[in-house]
């Protein structure tokens, strides 16, 4: 098949991962476990559709989607930072909550258990392979952007310090808590945007439409050893595997189940081999009592 269309499809598939993973990197670099990305994405997707539906403008949708992601991120932040609750458990709950809340409001606002009505979105001229969608371009630059933030800005420096040696950060007057709040907020906004892209690309919200993409994203973060660029490459790799999977299908040579596994098996192999020893931020997930 045409390599260009392959590339285009790969990128379209990668965009939600890129948004979520970039957010995940920031949060985890600051020391907060990001099992929550799935939930942030889902809420972002619903927020986008809600906003677009009632305003008629996808841009309002983008904002409301970001807002939705942010709200869930702040819940997570308050529980884990202010109340020092276990990050993984709260993370799991956030994901459940996101599913529940979106269903609840889907029923409330759109009287449906499956999907919202159709809403306006961006672009849509297939000649351009979906590249007339501003969010797609944003998705392409978000990882380099986060790389800049983490490695080239004072805030990024503080994020890295907070995740590696919080006491050292505190000892020079850096408020680790504040840094982490902001980092989690960023992860909520970005993961939310991932959901926004999904929803507006579909022009509607459907129940659980993120379908596990948040977990792929968090794997990409680890796969990429908590580095925005490497994580982005991991996202592209997963997307490539998925595109390949789409292309390989149909010829019933291999059972689709096995093709489905490709990204996950890849991750595990990578974890064991390539990045096995890669050490996460030293203070990741630590709850000091």
């Amino acid at each position: 098949m045409n390599p260009l269309t392959f590339l285009a499809q790969m990128i379209r598939i990668a965009i939600p991962y890129l948004f979520a993973a970039s957010g995940g990197v920031v949060a985890e670099r600051a020391g907060i476990v990001s099992l929550t990305l799935e939930g942030f994405m889902l809420s972002g997707a619903f927020g986008a559709v809600l906003g677009t539906n009632y305003s008629g403008s996808p841009w309002i949708g983008v904002l409301s989607g970001i807002f939705a992601g942010l709200v869930f991120a702040l819940i997570h932040a308050v529980c884990t930072i202010r109340y020092r609750a276990d990050q993984v458990v709260v993370g799991v709950a956030i994901n459940l909550l996101a599913i529940g809340v979106t269903r609840f409001f889907l029923k409330l606002f759109f009287a449906s258990s499956s999907n919202s009505p159709r809403v306006p979105g961006f672009g849509g001229n297939i000649k351009l392979g979906g590249f007339d969608n501003p969010l797609l371009w944003l998705g392409l630059i978000v990882a380099p952007l986060m790389a800049f933030v983490i490695y080239r800005t004072p805030f990024g420096l503080r994020v890295r310090a907070a995740g590696e040696h919080p006491d050292a950060a505190e000892s020079v007057g850096v408020s680790v808590a504040r840094v982490r709040y902001v980092a989690v907020a960023i992860s909520g906004i970005l993961a939310g945007l991932g959901g926004v892209y999904l929803a507006l690309d579909q022009h509607q919200f459907t129940d659980q439409m993120t379908a596990g993409r948040g977990f792929i994203a968090i794997s990409a973060v680890i796969f990429g050893r908590w580095d925005p660029i490497r994580a982005a490459l991991a996202c592209l790799l997963f997307a490539a595997a998925e595109t390949l999977q789409i292309q390989l299908q149909g010829n019933h040579a291999i059972a689709s189940q096995f093709i489905e596994m490709i990204p996950y098996v890849l991750t595990i192999i990578a974890l064991a081999g390539v990045v096995g020893r890669a050490v996460p931020p030293a203070a990741l997930g630590k709850v000091e009592n």
């Binding site: 499956s114 999907n115 001229n125 439409m209």
Partner: protein, 323 residues
């Protein structure tokens, strides 16, 4: 909800329906069953109670709740209810049960085992409807390529693919059918993003019409049809509204009529257990042809498909239900 609201006297007969987890508003067979029940309420003043289980383990619980309340008829919507219905039917021999898509087991030498006497197995021969839309897809498209997007890769969906393929081959032996599935977990019915990419890649390969049997993953197929200005075929109910002008037709499944039908039988005491198979003959399955989509369908194609329909009804064409 009782019929008094609609200003009719309520029938003394009480009916309970347990929808599947998807629940109301799934724009698929749950809504179909609901629609059928709704018209029964309006036209027959039926007294119907609905239950939407929150999770799989609650399906049986829902049925049981209704049976225990002494409902005259209890309907389970979805093949997944099969075993629960069979068991309950034995426990409540005086209650009438009906199962939509009731799965029939076969004994050692391949003969179907009939359901308990007080169970009506409402079956649909989706393959027949799929056959017709397959033929239509092949006739309308000019690229000798037609597409199929399934949800979860399971036999139930293979049934659609099988009929579809047969229909295509019938009218266009050298046509190629590209069939793909969105996944292998229940997520696969809820992943429009995947559905869209699958459809796009098919349209890219020159496919002009795609038939989906993929729940809300199908929403993505319609999006792709809009984006590429190609055609898609809906499933279960008339999905024309999902992408007006891009929905060639829909392979409709008369869940509503079947539901209404069985309710009516109970209302006028003519209910009998057994297998009720709804195909083209019974008008239980079919394809949409109305002034919303007739512009997309050339009369020649329409004529050919009607021909095939008659032949199937007459039994001259046997439509396969497995790959």
């Amino acid at each position: 909800r009782n019929a008094l609201a609609e200003g009719k006297e309520t029938s003394p007969i009480r009916i309970g329906i347990v929808l599947d987890v998807g629940g109301r508003g799934d724009k698929s067979f749950n809504d179909g069953a609901y629609a059928g029940a709704d018209s029964a309420i309006k036209m027959l003043g039926s007294n119907i109670r609905f239950i939407e289980p929150g999770e799989g383990a609650d399906r049986e619980a829902g049925l049981r709740l209704l049976a225990a309340e002494g409902m005259n008829l209890v309907i389970g919507v979805g093949f997944i209810f099969t075993d629960d219905l069979a068991n309950l039917a034995k426990e409540y021999p005086n209650t009438a049960f009906a199962g939509i898509d009731y799965a029939l087991a076969t004994d050692a030498n391949g003969n179907v085992i009939p359901p308990p006497p007080n169970v009506a197995a409402l079956k649909f021969r989706e393959e027949e409807g799929s056959y017709l839309v397959g033929a239509l897809a092949a006739l309308v498209g000019h690229s000798k390529k037609v597409g199929f997007v399934g949800g979860m890769d399971i036999p139930l969906i293979h049934k659609f693919e099988a009929g579809y393929r047969a229909g295509v081959k019938k009218v266009c032996p050298d046509c190629q059918v590209i069939a793909q599935y969105a996944g292998v977990t229940p997520d696969a019915f809820k992943n429009p993003g995947k559905g869209k990419e699958l459809a796009l890649s098919q349209y890219n390969q020159g496919v002009e019409v795609i038939f989906h049997a993929a729940g809300s993953t199908g929403q993505g197929v319609f999006e792709a049809a809009r984006a590429t200005n190609k055609l898609a075929i809906g499933v279960d109910s008339d999905q024309n509204d999902e992408a007006p002008g891009h929905v060639l037709t829909s392979m409709v499944k008369g869940v509503n009529t079947a539901t209404f039908d069985v309710i009516q039988r109970v209302e006028n005491h003519t209910f009998k257990g057994g297998i009720y198979s709804f195909g083209l003959k019974e008008g239980g399955v079919g394809y949409i042809y109305d002034n919303r989509n007739k512009a997309l369908i050339p009369d020649s194609a329409r004529a050919r498909v009607e021909e095939l329909k008659q032949e199937i009804i007459a039994g001259r064409i046997k439509v396969p239900s497995t790959l």
